[in-house]
Amino acid sequence: MSFVHEIDYGTPKSKSEKTVTLTVDGKQVTAPEGTSIMRAAMEAGIEIPKLCATDMLEAFGSCRLCLVEIEGRNGTPASCTTPVAPGIVVHTKTERIELIRKGVMELYASDYSLASLDRSTKESKYAALLDIAEAVGLKEVRYGFDGARHPNAGIDASNPYFVYDPAKCIVCSRCVRACEEVQGTFALTISGRGFDSIVSAGMNEPFLESECVSCGACVQACPTGSLIEKSVLAAQTTEKPADRSLVTTCAYCGVGCSFKAEMRGDEVVRMVPYKDGKANRGHSCVKGRFAWGYANHKERILKPMVRETISEPWREVSWEEAITRVASEFKRIQKTYGRESIGGITSSRCTDEETFLVQKLVRAGFGVNNVDTCARVCHSPTGYGLANTFGTSAGTQDFDSVEHADVVILIGANPTDAHPVFASRLKRRLRQGAKLIVIDPRAIDLVRTPHVEAAYHLPLLPGTNVAMLTALAHVIVTEGLVNEQFVRERCEWDAFKHWAEFAADRKNSPEAVAKITGVPAEHIRQAARLYATGGNGAIYYGLGVTEHSQGSTAVIAIANLAMATGNIGRPGVGVNPLRGQNNVQGSCDMGSFPHELSGYRHISTDSVRHMFEIDWGVELDKEPGLRIPNMLDAAVDGTFKGIYIQGEDILQSDPDTKHVAAGLAAMECVVVQDLFLNETANYAHVFLPGSTFLEKNGTFINAERRIQLVRKVMEPKNGYEDWQITCMISNAMGYPMHYSHPSEIMDEIARLTPTFAGVSFKLLEEVGSVQWPCNERAPLGTPVMHIGQFVRGKGRFLITEYVATDERTGPRFPLLLTTGRILSQYNVGAQTRRTQNTIWHEEDRLEIHPHDAEERGVRDGDWVKLASRSGETTLRARITERVAPGVVYTTFHHPNTQANVVTTDFSDWATNCPEYKVTAVQVSPSNGPSQWQEEYESLTRRSRRIVPAGAAE
């Protein structure tokens, strides 16, 4: 079995373009200026022993194991901290050096808790330190192994995923530096001095109680196994911890971290972030690295199930019976209620290939365009806003771009929780001196975190983004900060003039807008000046921008700002939507929206549709189909009766739960394909068990348009990959689909989609990943878009008039509720709730300002009732000044919280993306769950009953 080997070059790559030539052990070596001798040697295949150095971290020079001799220089410099120089002659293996190295190693070995240097005992078998001892030729330890050791507070096993054993610690500081440099959390310190020094988390706390966010960077950095995954310790009881490894892509968030999955048989031993992953560069967060246990959770459903009505228990059946049922029901419904009475929902968690097939099944197999995806409820306004200003519906940069940004505007996004690895990369840039402007109702972590402080935090009232963004534009226009050259060359001049006139209007001035947003005018002015004049300006935004009734308008306002200041079309700038789910970009790209085919081409465009019709051998409907909220409306009205939902939980994730429930309850055949009996499955008639990302081949596309391979590391426990299940349904419906591998589906996508024309599994195998557009003009993809010209030709400014949402506070509902997410849980939590991540977030809490709490007699931890005009729920309160008076905040990771019972059906004017981020509410003390919560609990309990196959009926 094969392993993916990664080389550790010891120090990071130098960015210099000038090269230097030197001689190492008689070999001519050329390396960029600034490269360490250690790295230059390793690149030439000469390995110098090292302990404190690793290429994820800056050189430190503390262990003295990497000494070399340089002709003409005195002493024995450390090769990790000594840069290459022209013409120098380096020796890495002289007798003198080897003697010193052995001496150094001998000290470390005597200090390390091992009985001897031999490999016979269980605990010494995999001791990483012994590998190095062997490499330097150390055969015996003269001081014995029972000498004084560092202070040892005992093993810290408080973190659910890794342990820290001080006895194996050599105090090389790699973990401390990983936590600082790579993760940016600064949770670890070396306390004590000299021989007494020791690593400790926080203020000598256990890891779990410290600031540690469990990213695992320190574990990855530790050279001795002092910090080590519990899963690896468990696997060490047998022969070899892992027998093979494969590179794959995280299935949680839109960062799209690349991982090496180390496997033994069909079990994951550990996930190690892959250094060649261009999104994550060898880092990850707690979810991707550790929270993969859900694949084996006892609640995972592995057999298909059916039931006649939703009040009956589930009955396990064969795949054949389940698929036949789906096909015959859908056919019956179409015959009875018309062709347009069924549809499907594609999943942002599944692969591109799977998503493409579901929309193909709906369009070609069902003969309708009633297909949508959960991107509807998150980033559909990004699609509309960017398509109408720039000409295409995606972020403009790669993540590496942040390394060149000088000013970053972060609006409606909370990356340390929702996009952690991007947050780490951003923090690193901020520590180097870039400036940050946070526009968010809540004081997110990045407003102030170790060694990072935002230049401005503009805590606006929820629902006033457009007013704020237009006020920033007002300052830029009226203070002469427009980059006129850029606008003249690159944008439609008339549209710009029209827009500039609008922006300059007094009603858009910071002074006028201060009253709407609650942010002092002077802060708005200063922030605008900083963005316009501070060098490369980059805007990053999230769902706090899109999930509003003016979501699309806000995206347009962001695009306007970038165009007006010329911050588009080169590294370090741009407009960057931070996408929520792993493949939300891909599901949009693949034609999941009812009105467009893959590559964002409208279904009514004859030339495009004909191309598909020829390839697919059927006639397609040229009218747009229903979007998710419209499907539910139509269901309540009786014109929509059947739905195939792959990997989405619309009941929990969509707003106005009662309306969703009513829509689902009105349908005659609801088919849910998922890992678990999710909330939507409470209303389903057929349940098809899905597969995890570990069990399938395919691709995901992250927030930077990067297409990355997902590799099957184990067989699907449910029997089939998700795309195979879609094929079976299609075949049973009478529309044949025959693919033997997802690569064939990608070939079809490439054939039918100009922006994907150059993409194939073969190319991805060769180069690792590419960012679309990838075609003849850009054979290796496009890291930065709109260079030289916009996709639509000239950039277009549009007017962004602020319109207050109709969701207003009043005497009955005086507070504004906004929603968000936290690091350790993921979205509706179906996966993360089934891992040990629950240790960090057992329940959703309502954050409320002390002033509002006191007025209502609410104490920290009390149960409170949260009511809006849609409904009410109960949860416990957390009193904090992170939210302003008048604003409350909660997450939505747990189904019992039912936060979406409270959210309303208001939505974005252009796309119907729901207005999750603003709901007028009242909060009052309560003593227990609401009636809806109780009824819902009992429905859930009833609908989770399963009768196994073969059991007496």
């Binding site: 062709r339 699309s552 747009p624 419209n630 007017i799 008039e801």
Partner: protein
């Protein structure tokens, strides 16, 4: 292709459609009053499925209460494009 002729007249759905049409109108009116109704119509044709279009036209035929003038004009122009 044949299509079902079920048209819904549920008041909640009608109210929603009117609300949506007016909301779309607000954006395009702010761009340019003169082109607003044409662009509202264009937006509706691009994004609304036929049953929603039929429903809003039927609603207009029944009086169209609550439709803002620009939105009303846009819906009027949908008739030949059903």
């Amino acid at each position: 292709m044949s299509s079902s002729n079920l048209i819904s007249h549920s008041t909640t759905t009608d109210n929603k459609l009117v609300y949506m049409a007016n909301q779309i109108g607000t954006f395009f009116k702010s761009q340019d009053m003169d082109t607003a109704s044409a662009r509202i119509a264009e937006h509706i044709v691009k994004f609304w499925d036929p049953r929603m279009r039929r429903a809003i036209v039927a609603y207009l035929d029944a009086g169209g209460a609550g439709l803002d003038p620009a939105a009303r004009q846009a819906v009027e122009s949908l008739r030949p494009r059903l």
